[in-house]
């Protein structure tokens, strides 16, 4: 703890640093090709970064307070919004916390469908991360490839839910739509395609000498320090800490699946790139197991099904669609509090709900993984060259709207 500078940000410390001879203050962002929706204040002495201060909050919208004004079900689309490329995991985390409050559990088929969509979402999120890493390092090819390779999965999700990014598919007590008939075959085609593409990425990106020259040994964070700073997700695992909420505190039906938690001991930018590729491979394996073992049965909590009108029931039986009963739309959980932890694409998402017995949450709290990965800016970037700033930024898969809880 002693070797970490945790001095709070003060105006005086800034001005002293700016006054120092030979130190240049750079305002990277908010309108800069390498910043995203944020401003990074970078102080450079020569070509060496001496201090970095991420100035976040540019896209803060207040998901927590917005949700507290709404019915529990109507908060689902808002909860999804902060992280547009990994919506299912945010949705799942909120619903798990809500179901704990309500004291119910979704039927197994619904749980399997949740896992399938969550893993598809994780693949989409990791591909997006690789794409952003590519464009930050100046390779438009990897940017275009990774963004385009999300497309088969987005199409599958569109067929399932009708939306491309914000699915709102998971509801208290189950999911909204059952899997279409040819879902398994279509997903298998997409998975085969992705497996082929991963080897292409290895050729042009992971084994590219320029990539290795720029990413290897850059932005090293040791496992002990990573734990101390509280970073989460693939970045933590790239530092050699085997921590995955799916394994260490299993939720939904993840305990039924056989998968590895890949770790790398290097903890540099290159390891943070490789870990995402390895996790994509694990997600492919989980998806195959889920498709093989998915049980038959209801996709909605039994009690909610019973309260449906005959017309709703006939729609459910014919099309596998859950219509919202009045009970579902106006949930009022008993007094109490609950929390949930889920492993999102960028790391652990934490949800905390307090109910006062009314139809709106009394308090809703979400801690997003990107916010917890902020120490990479303040603690890892200083000491590197200016050209390493986008490399480290890209490697941690930081998503400003998620950190700001847009």
């Amino acid at each position: 703890m002693s070797n970490i500078t945790t001095a709070p940000f003060t105006y005086e410390s800034l001005s002293q640093l700016t006054m120092k001879e030979g130190v240049l203050e750079l305002q990277v962002g908010p309108a800069h090709a390498g910043s995203g929706h944020m401003r990074i204040l970078v102080w450079v002495e020569g070509d060496t970064v001496v201090k970095v201060d991420p100035d976040i909050g540019f896209v803060h919208r207040g998901v927590e307070k917005l949700s507290e004004d709404r019915l529990y079900v109507k908060a689902i689309p808002i909860v999804e919004r902060p992280n547009l490329v990994d919506t299912v995991n945010a949705n799942l985390g909120y619903i798990i916390a809500l179901e704990k409050l309500l004291g119910l559990e979704a039927p197994p088929r619904a749980q399997y469908i949740r896992v399938i969509t969550a893993e598809i979402s994780r693949i989409i999120s990791h591909l997006y991360g690789i794409a952003i890493y590519g464009i930050f390092m100046g390779s438009s090819t990897v940017f275009m490839w990774a963004l385009a390779d999300r497309e088969p999965f987005i199409d599958i999700m569109e067929e399932l839910t009708g939306a491309r990014l914000t699915y709102s598919h998971i509801i208290p007590g189950g999911v909204r739509w059952d899997l279409p008939k040819d879902f398994g075959e279509r997903l298998e085609v997409a998975l085969k395609y992705l497996e082929g593409r991963v080897s292409d990425y290895e050729k042009i990106w992971m084994n590219n000498p320029v990539v290795r020259a720029r990413a290897e040994g850059v932005g090293i964070l040791s496992g002990a320090k990573a734990t101390e700073l509280g970073v989460v997700g693939p970045n933590l695992r790239a530092s050699g800490v085997k921590c995955d909420v799916r394994k260490c505190a299993p939720y939904s039906v993840y305990s039924d699946f056989d998968f590895d938690v890949p770790t790398f001991k290097e903890g540099d930018s290159y390891a943070r790139l490789l870990i995402r590729v390895e996790e994509i491979k694990q997600s492919i394996s989980i998806l195959r197991q889920a498709l093989k073992n998915i049980p038959e049965g209801k996709i909605i909590y039994e009690d909610y099904y019973k309260r449906m009108t005959p017309l709703m029931k006939s729609i459910y039986d014919e099309k596998g669609r859950v219509k919202f009963t009045s009970l579902l739309t106006s949930l009022s959980p008993p007094k109490g509090q609950s929390f949930s932890r889920v492993e999102g694409g960028r790391g652990e998402i934490f949800f905390y709900l307090i109910s006062d017995g009314t139809k709106n949450p009394y308090r809703f709290r979400v801690v997003t993984p990107s916010f917890r990965n902020l120490p990479y800016f303040t603690h890892v970037m200083p000491g590197h060259k200016l050209a390493d700033v986008p490399v480290i930024y890209g490697s941690i898969d930081y998503f400003p709207p998620e950190a700001d809880r847009r």
Binding site: A33, G34, M137, T141, I204, N208, V211, A387
Partner: protein
């Protein structure tokens, strides 16, 4: 012949040199080539990246005149001169950049009859000297723009310029050592008598191409303009048509370097040869031109494969491996020159 009949004989050299400088391979060709090469870069990268690239401006030609549409759009944008810039350098330096990017092409012969238009036996020296003027203006632009990112871009240009200029001059020296002349026409004639220079001294050709990628800021050496770090390097403050100019300058620079490469290492107008303005300059010139364009296409295609290299590593590479290779090319030149 019938048109030339009416022109006084003493005007002919003037018209010929004017044609050389303004039409082919000079100004007009360069502008048309800039259209082609930027289109090719976008289209080739798009093919690798699973997308269409320029398409909707002139659908029949596959978006070939996209750059024209871009230029029209640029010309209707406001040209912003920020407070605090050094006004005159800021306004005029893009023009100088453009001019000095075009100038080297005048000293590079594209046909055997070139000596009649520009009698000089130091064309290699002149052409390479004029290619080296541009970075100085780039550094001045970076300082004049009064922007921190421009300033850092100019500093980067300065560092890289010094680290890659030494190998460049060594390669020029090894070419001189190899052919024992500074006259590019004679250099091509020597290659016609033996084999093209790329076989005589492949190491020199490799170092030359590396230096060209560096000087013209092609990927992976787009360190000076690195967009995720420095927005647009020294040109960050330019907007509207001025932005279009400075964006085009590297491609024109690349053309000069590629012509020189075609003459030094690819045998220029071999296998064609002839005499007179048309037979000795224009028709062999097309061969040289095509060789140069192929080199350009190769270099701009690198964008689809590599990400950006890092400044300190690029400087280190320049002072170590590229420099060593340049010395090796000197030795090879001395050896081969002894043989032929």
């Amino acid at each position: 012949m019938s048109i030339l009949y009416f022109i006084p004989a003493q005007w002919l050299p003037l018209i010929e040199s004017g044609f050389y400088a303004l039409i082919f391979p000079g100004f007009v060709t360069i502008l048309l080539l800039a259209f082609f090469i930027i289109w090719f870069e976008r289209k080739a990268a798009a093919r690798v990246q699973m997308r269409y690239g320029p398409l909707w401006v002139s659908r029949k030609t596959g978006g070939l005149i996209q750059l024209l549409a871009d230029m029209i759009r640029f010309s209707f944008q406001e040209f912003i001169v920020p407070e605090g810039v050094d006004f005159l350098p800021f306004i005029f330096l893009p023009g100088f950049l453009l001019a000095f990017a075009v100038l080297p092409t005048i000293f590079i012969p594209i046909g055997p009859d070139y000596a009649r238009i520009f009698p000089s036996s130091y064309t290699l020296l002149l052409a390479s000297a004029f290619t080296l003027v541009i970075p100085i203006y780039l550094i001045v632009v970076g300082w004049a723009a009064d922007n921190k990112f421009s300033f850092i871009g100019a500093l980067r240009e300065g560092y890289l310029l010094i680290s890659y200029e030494v190998p460049y001059l060594l390669v020029i020296a090894s070419a001189f050592l190899l052919y024992r002349t500074l006259d590019l026409v004679k250099i091509v004639n020597i290659q016609a008598a033996s084999v093209p220079g790329i076989i005589l001294n492949p190491v020199a050709a490799i170092v030359y191409l590396l230096v060209v990628i560096r000087s013209t800021g092609r990927v992976p050496y787009d360190i000076v303009e690195a967009d995720s770090e420095l927005i647009f390097g020294p040109y960050t403050e330019y907007s509207s048509l001025m932005f279009g100019f400075v964006m085009g300058v590297p491609y024109i620079e690349l053309y000069g370097y590629s012509l020189l490469f075609a003459t030094l290492f690819l045998g220029g107008w071999i296998p064609l040869t002839g005499a007179g303005f048309v037979g000795g300059l224009i028709i062999p010139g097309i061969v040289t031109f095509v060789k140069a364009v192929l080199v350009m296409c190769l270099l701009v295609f690198l964008r689809a494969v590599y990400p950006r290299y890092k400044l300190d590593k690029a400087i280190k590479t320049g002072w170590t491996w590229v420099l060593y290779l340049a010395f090796v090319s000197l030795l090879i030149s001395a050896f081969v020159s002894y043989l032929i």
